[in-house]
Symmetry: C2
Subunit: 126 residues, 2 copies
Amino acid sequence: MQLDFSKSDGLIAAVIQDYSSGRVLMVGYMNAEAFRRTVESGFATFYSRSRQKLWLKGESSGHRLVVREISTDCDQDAVLVRVEPQGPGVCHNGYESCFYRRLDDGQWVESEARAYDPATVYGSRK
Amino acid sequence: MQLDFSKSDGLIAAVIQDYSSGRVLMVGYMNAEAFRRTVESGFATFYSRSRQKLWLKGESSGHRLVVREISTDCDQDAVLVRVEPQGPGVCHNGYESCFYRRLDDGQWVESEARAYDPATVYGSRK
């Protein structure tokens, strides 16, 4: 039983969830090679749609995602990756989760404080 | 601040998470109209890529998803929708979550029992 990479230009959605807290941290995309590397290395690896290249999450920040469990859905076109994050946050904007804005009466509002200073972590590379 | 529907043919990924348990239940896709209906109706509404039409989750099964909270990510090209599910499961195959198969030593294996009988719920419409 293989994953179905045919629906979105060779990509599947990968939902990243904190294994301990259950918080959804980010959504990335994987092609077949990114999925293979994720399984073999034990660190979540994505395919960047904007940069059009493989991307080991944490390669710049050091905030890698240690894979604890991988599930797939009924259509086999998405995976749920439960991870232990290394570092205080997965979001390049400095938050624990990329989902740091909540819809409140028609407006997106920040719903939490930053977990780290992205300028310190990413420096001039960002 | 608007959502970015430009990256995937007018669609954004929508991660559906159980508000109470934290379990990730499914990943769907929304176009702008599906998102608007989700917000206005309070029930998760998707755009079906295979059927190419709007899809109120639960329109056949009655298992609708009551929206409790919506967040968006740093790129504004995905939403996290925390819901209270009506009914025993969101998966049309009869499981609580569409993510009912886990990667175990290179094989996808079912990791839970069915929550309901899909033949009874969907009947001949499936």
